[in-house]
């Protein structure tokens, strides 16, 4: 039982944080919006240069062979910065999925994504639209449960404007064929299931980052903004709003970390945990962003203050990789399906140890 990140894991995350602190400020975000571009090419190049894309790809396939616990702090950092580029989905979901598909075309595209030369977008059954399809060189698409790998020139994209200015969503029109097939439905099912768990856990990690940033912005403002001759942060009402948001964060964060650590177990508890992580982190991000807006007053409702970037990303992430209804149903089923037997954290662990020993 060790609930701590290794020095290496922390150092990795710190490198990403430092890069994003320098290259993904609110000023950068505003410039990107004004430019109309999907990505900040300079920043994306620097992110790729960190060599993180293959973090969760096995050594044998050219990656670092690490797992969810090695990436969860990085995903949190990306949420904190509201990073527009698709590092989290590429590294945390798409590349490990590509690596798990035993097909020459998947291998070839994996190699190209590992170098950062291109990105591949994933159309997952959980998500009605595809994120970042317009900048991807190829798409992983699902038809009748089977996975197809299709190059971008042969699909038609219908843009779906959403609330987050940095999430570019598309509806994809395409034609499956035997040439595009890379995994039949039986093979694809567990891969897609794992992708969902990872998508949910890393969306949750990003949401924690968003929540933390929201509270930071609000605290900074509450210390500076003077009303009635004092900083507004001296008011108990302001203090208690922010303390309540912070408590939400404190009891969502360890759930997200645990979900990352337990993902590989791939059992009923690990899935309930991922759902719990997604729900708790989404709630923390939503509450923290709303609280930050409230603390900023009219400023908070303006485009000039940065909180709205966080609010909008939080809104977008709360519905992808399983919405509230989906995740609540999974948790409820787990919580009540065996109410009379041991099924909580420590007790389940014990059962598994016992089962292993048997």
């Amino acid at each position: 039982m060790d609930f701590a990140f290794s020095d290496e894991q922390q150092a990795f995350a710190e490198v990403v944080r430092n890069l994003l602190r320098a290259e993904c400020t609110a000023a950068h975000l505003r410039r990107l919006i004004d430019s109309g571009a999907a990505r900040d090419g300079d920043r994306w190049r620097q992110v790729l240069d960190l060599g993180l894309t293959g973090l969760m790809v096995p050594d044998a396939k050219g990656g670092l062979g690490l797992d969810e616990t090695d990436f969860v702090l990085i995903a949190q950092a990306c949420g904190h910065a509201a990073l527009p580029e698709p590092l989290v989905e590429q590294t945390g979901v798409v590349l490990p999925l590509l690596a798990a598909i035993d097909h020459p075309r998947a291998c070839a595209w994996l190699d190209r994504t590992l170098t950062g030369e291109v990105t591949v977008a994933l159309s997952h059954p959980s998500n009605p639209f595809v994120a970042d399809a317009d900048t991807a060189a190829a798409l992983l698409l699902v038809h009748d449960g089977a996975l197809h790998l299709v190059e971008s020139p042969v699909v038609e994209l219908i843009a779906q404007p959403g609330i987050d200015p940095f999430r570019r969503l598309s509806h994809v029109i395409w034609t499956p064929s035997t040439h595009t097939l890379v995994a039949d439905s039986r093979t694809a099912a567990p891969l897609l299931a794992t992708a969902l768990e990872r998508g949910a856990i890393f969306a949750a990690a990003q949401s924690i980052g968003l929540a933390e940033r929201s509270v930071e912005l609000a605290v900074d403002y509450a210390k500076e903004r003077i009303q009635f001759g004092k900083p507004i942060g001296v008011n108990q009402a302001v203090k208690h709003l922010l303390a309540t948001a912070q408590v939400k964060i404190e009891f969502a964060r360890p759930v997200v970390f645990a979900a990352a650590a337990e993902r590989a177990a791939d059992n009923a508890l690990s899935r309930a945990r991922a759902s719990h992580a997604k729900l708790a982190a989404a709630e923390a991000a939503s509450l923290a962003a709303r609280t930050a807006i409230q603390v900023h007053g009219a400023m908070g409702y303006s485009w000039e203050v940065d909180v709205h970037f966080l609010l909008k990303r939080a809104l977008a992430l709360s519905g992808v990789w399983g919405d509230e209804s989906f995740h609540r149903a999974r948790v409820r089923a787990h919580a009540i399906s065996a109410a009379d037997i041991d099924h909580s954290f420590a007790w389940t662990a014990l059962k598994e140890v016992a089962a292993d020993a048997a």
């Binding site: 404007p161 609330i163 519905g319």
Partner: protein
């Protein structure tokens, strides 16, 4: 106690319903925080006025019908039921109008009220300043009397709709060196006055719903002062009372929203968490509770009563209800909640998302809910000010 409507009230309801059915635009107007939308909404105000529906509670002399508050609520119910456009002139007709009737001179009423009811002059409120938000008494903009004019200098901010509006009611310090609530006056200012610079501030949705107003030696006739010199705070507090009172947030708005939410839920019931049914039912209850409370207050006011700190309860309740109701809608929409209403595959998502964003402003404007809770605790419950 009798909660059924009189035949006269029902007849009026039918009249409004029929007129709305004939006049409400089939398609929603563009947002009034855009130039095009503002013009379209101004046109709608004129249409309303031509139907003699500009502001039905006002005296006939000012373009109204002298109806009572219950009739006003009936009007609003039919207005929302018909899906009629938002009132671009709400700051005028709901806030400044009643204040003018209480504090204005005969000349001021005749000059401003009919044009307001007719939609010919759209008003913005110019009270807040960068350093005077919740702490409105920190207002620093000055107005110095020079002959028959005040000369205004200062910086106003968070002025809704001022980008396209015609006039503004401005809180300024008319007594040099005065402190806090003293020495303030309320002036009615043409936004085309030389020395008035209006700069749009984009809102969270990117639209220019706010403005800041820079005043550089802008001249406003002294005759446009509303109320006595130095009585600006008193006049403003009366306006704030109207704002929190019965006008700005009609129950019908929430009853209509709760009904739309129920319809949305019914369409998606099989796909979503059954517990969302509880939230949908709660939205219905909240909207009904708000309606009943407002009817109760309207009857009390009609019988000569007054509204005090209870108005702060209203503000807290509708703003929190509005957020909860929209959150429930977004939960029902699930992964489609992030779509903008005008997208190709938006389907029935409607503008719940926009409504949600707007709802987040509810606990802030018209006096933040923190301030309102202070008012409830101190004035309604009698807790010490500290």
């Amino acid at each position: 106690m009798n909660l059924s409507f009189t035949p006269e009230q029902t007849a009026f309801r039918h009249e409004v319903r029929a007129w709305m059915a004939a006049h409400v635009p089939a398609d929603p107007l563009p947002s009034f925080d855009t130039a095009e939308g503002f013009a379209a909404h101004r046109e709608w105000e004129r249409t309303l006025s031509q139907g003699n529906f500009g502001m039905v509670t006002w005296p006939k002399a000012y373009g109204g019908r002298a109806l009572d508050l219950v009739q006003w609520l009936i009007f609003e119910e039919e207005y929302y039921r018909a899906g009629a456009p938002g009132r671009v002139n709400q700051n005028g007709i709901f806030l400044l109008g009643p204040t003018l009737m209480e504090f204005g001179t005969v000349e001021q009423k005749a000059r401003f009220l009919p044009a307001m009811a007719a939609g010919d002059e759209i008003w913005a409120q110019a009270w807040s300043e960068p350093q005077a938000g919740s702490d409105l008494a920190a207002v620093a903009a000055t107005a110095v009397l020079d002959g028959d004019d005040y000369v205004l200098n200062g910086h106003k901010i968070w002025s809704s709709r001022a980008v396209f509006a015609d006039w503004a009611f401005v809180l300024v310090r008319t007594e040099a060196g005065s402190q806090r609530h003293k020495g303030l006056s309320l002036l009615l200012m043409d936004l085309k006055t030389p020395g008035v610079l209006v700069r749009p501030i984009p809102q969270i949705n990117g639209e220019a719903g706010f403005a800041e107003i820079f005043l550089e030696n802008a001249r406003v006739p002294a005759a446009n002062r509303l109320g006595d010199e130095g009585q600006g705070w008193h006049v403003c507090m009366a306006t704030a009372g109207f704002e929190r009172g019965l006008m700005l947030r009609s129950p019908a708005r929430y009853q209509q929203a709760a009904r739309r939410l129920a319809a949305l839920y019914v369409r998606h019931r099989d796909e979503v968490d059954p517990a969302l049914g509880r939230d949908v039912a709660q939205a219905w209850m909240d909207a009904e509770a708000y309606a009943l409370s407002i009817y109760s207050t309207a009857c009390r006011l009609s019988a000569g009563g007054s509204i005090g700190a209870e108005a702060s309860c209203n503000k807290i309740f509708w703003s929190e209800m509005d957020i909860a109701l929209h959150q429930t809608a977004l939960a029902v929409l699930g992964p489609r909640a992030e779509l903008l209403a005008n997208g190709p595959d938006a389907g029935d998502v409607g503008d719940w998302l926009g409504g949600y964003l707007f709802s987040l402003a509810g606990p802030i404007y018209a006096g933040s809910n923190e301030i309102q809770r202070n008012i409830v605790a101190e004035r309604l419950l009698g807790l010490p000010r500290g």
